[in-house]
């Protein structure tokens, strides 16, 4: 079986708090606990961006969290979906236009699913994640993999520009 199958059957979550009040975070924790049990969909909460398919963001993006959020987003492999949980993550909520806040998550990275509510209820979060999985599936179908470099046999050290030119088969600048 290939990796694709696992990715659709057992998506992994990455949860990042960009400045929320913890209200939405504990609701996500509650989702993973026995009563709501998000794990029954095969969803696991893991902290590693390199293994995750779904990024869950809570809270308005503070100025210091912005850089980390972008990095986490870029480190996740394609295809990926982003779920904004809570009023804060959607629009900034009550923290909108405070001096250290950049309002919603979509000011920084593209968002696929918005889960409203303050705090978002666990049922709503589960609905949001399930919706995100559909989007993930769709994204995977029309996903164009990035151009893979041809293998080059390098005998002597070459400079990077020259190397890229050769392996992508284009003249630089054209």
């Amino acid at each position: 079986m290939d990796l694709k199958k696992f990715r659709s059957k057992s998506p992994w979550l990455l949860h990042y708090n960009t400045g929320s009040c913890n209200g939405c975070d504990i609701e996500i924790l509650a989702c993973l606990a026995p009563k709501y049990d998000l794990e029954r969909f095969g969803i696991l909460n893991r902290g590693n961006p390199k293994q995750s398919d779904v990024l869950i963001v809570t809270g308005p993006v503070t100025k210091r969290a912005r850089e980390r959020l972008i990095r986490l987003y870029l480190e996740m492999p394609e295809p990926k979906v982003v779920v904004a949980v809570g009023a804060c993550a959607c629009t900034g909520g009550v923290f909108r236009h405070m001096y250290n806040v950049l309002n919603g998550v979509d000011k920084v990275i593209p968002v696929d699913v918005y889960v409203p509510g303050c705090a978002a209820r666990p049922e709503a979060i589960i609905d949001g994640v399930v919706k995100a999985l559909e989007i993930l599936e769709r994204k995977r179908k029309d996903f164009v993999p990035p151009k893979v470099c041809k293998n080059l046999e390098v005998k002597e050290p070459v400079n990077r520009k020259f190397f890229l030119e050769k392996c992508l088969g284009v003249k630089n600048g054209s």
Partner: protein, 361 residues
């Protein structure tokens, strides 16, 4: 001279739900120095309370400082403004506030205990604790209409009354909850593995607690008798059977036991309050503008919460100052880390139950 290693921990980490950054310098697994950075979630709430929001709205804004103890923040602010404006709050409203704030304590303590269990490797106990915590959440939803942000207290009273049917259901479910909490207390007190793991780890002595001004369950676990519920008169705690829980050990084990006993005491208090709920209004109209200054100390689940409010006959307040319990506990944490094994760090941090949203605001 051993192996010197620098271990960064955070700001995004598998074990941490909140962004906090530690940089540990270790030497042969022993920590020699530590740096803490807590400012990732700073939003500027104090400033916004002084510029953007009217004094009647601030109660709902400060609830968003922290989702775990939102009622404590609202309660503190509301009490401070009521003292400024000399509002006589009806007895029934005070009782209802007490009920919600104690239920909030129950859920927060259960969360903290479950989290400590998880860090010690007890996944099952964590799940059980969370399962029982859901009961409290349901009760709170029944009572206030929301699971996390209650927005229950307002200036002059409370926003929502409790009907006899709800009170009846509450009492029934509380009985159920009490048994479960007794079971949890039993496990935390008598389980041999947990004892071995937690006894004598991260000890805060009484002198240390006094010197660093520790608050909340860590202080009470170290034998320091400090509790705002007994010291500052903001709700009628002595009428409903409040007992202070003090233990001597000061280690992780005792901190958890303080929480376990407090949970039982809180449930008892809620039961008593429901039995002797006075009749009458739940809210009085408030006229005029706040003038002068006042401060309030409230016992949040994590310890003493301090609010200072200053107004000068304007719709917008001059100053709102918040001092949160975690802020008071950080110095002693830093002191504890030095000389400790690195493997004990997560359990110790979690047993203090830090809340960074509160600290950074």
């Amino acid at each position: 001279m051993g192996n010197r290693i620098t271990i960064p921990f955070g700001s995004q980490h598998v074990a941490l739900p909140e962004p906090i950054k530690f940089v540990f310098q270790t030497e042969n697994e022993r920590i020699t120095s530590v740096e803490v950075d807590v400012g990732y979630v700073h939003r500027g709430i104090e400033k916004a309370c002084q510029t953007k929001f009217k004094y009647t709205q601030v109660g709902y804004v400060v609830a968003r400082v922290c989702g775990l103890c939102s009622i404590s923040h609202t309660l503190a602010y509301v009490t401070a403004v009521e003292r400024l404006m000399e509002v006589e709050v009806p007895k029934r409203a005070l009782y209802l506030r007490l009920i919600v704030s104690e239920l909030d304590r129950v859920h927060s303590h259960l969360l903290a205990m479950g989290h400590t269990a998880e860090v010690a490797g007890y996944e099952n106990l964590f799940m059980q604790t969370f399962r029982y915590r859901e009961t409290v959440m349901e009760l709170l939803e029944l009572l206030t209409g929301n699971r996390v942000q209650y927005d229950y207290a307002c200036i002059g009273g409370v926003n929502r009354d409790v009907t006899p049917e709800v009170a009846k259901t509450l009492k029934e479910r509380l009985k159920e909850l009490k048994e479960k909490c007794l079971w949890i207390k039993d496990v935390f007190e008598n389980d041999l593995t947990l004892k071995y793991r937690w006894k004598g780890v991260g000890v805060v002595t009484k002198e240390m607690a006094k010197e660093f001004n520790v608050v909340g369950p860590p202080a009470r676990a170290a034998g320091l008798e400090t509790d705002c519920r007994a010291e500052f008169n903001y709700l009628p705690f002595d009428e409903v059977g409040y007992k202070m829980v003090v233990r001597k050990g000061g280690d992780i084990y005792d901190r958890n036991l303080v929480r376990a006993y407090e949970v039982l005491n809180s449930i008892e208090m809620v039961e008593n309050a429901l039995d002797s709920l006075p009749q009458g209004e739940i809210k009085v109209p408030v006229k005029g503008l706040p003038d002068g200054e006042s401060f309030v100390r409230v016992e949040a689940p994590r310890g003493e919460l301090f609010y200072y409010v200053k107004g000068s006959k304007k719709l917008v307040l001059d100053r709102v100052r918040i001092r949160v319990p975690t802020f008071a506990n950080i110095p002693v944490m830093k002191e504890l880390f030095i000389g400790m094994d690195y493997s004990d760090v997560p359990a110790t941090v979690i047993s203090f139950d830090p809340c960074l949203s509160c600290t950074a605001r």
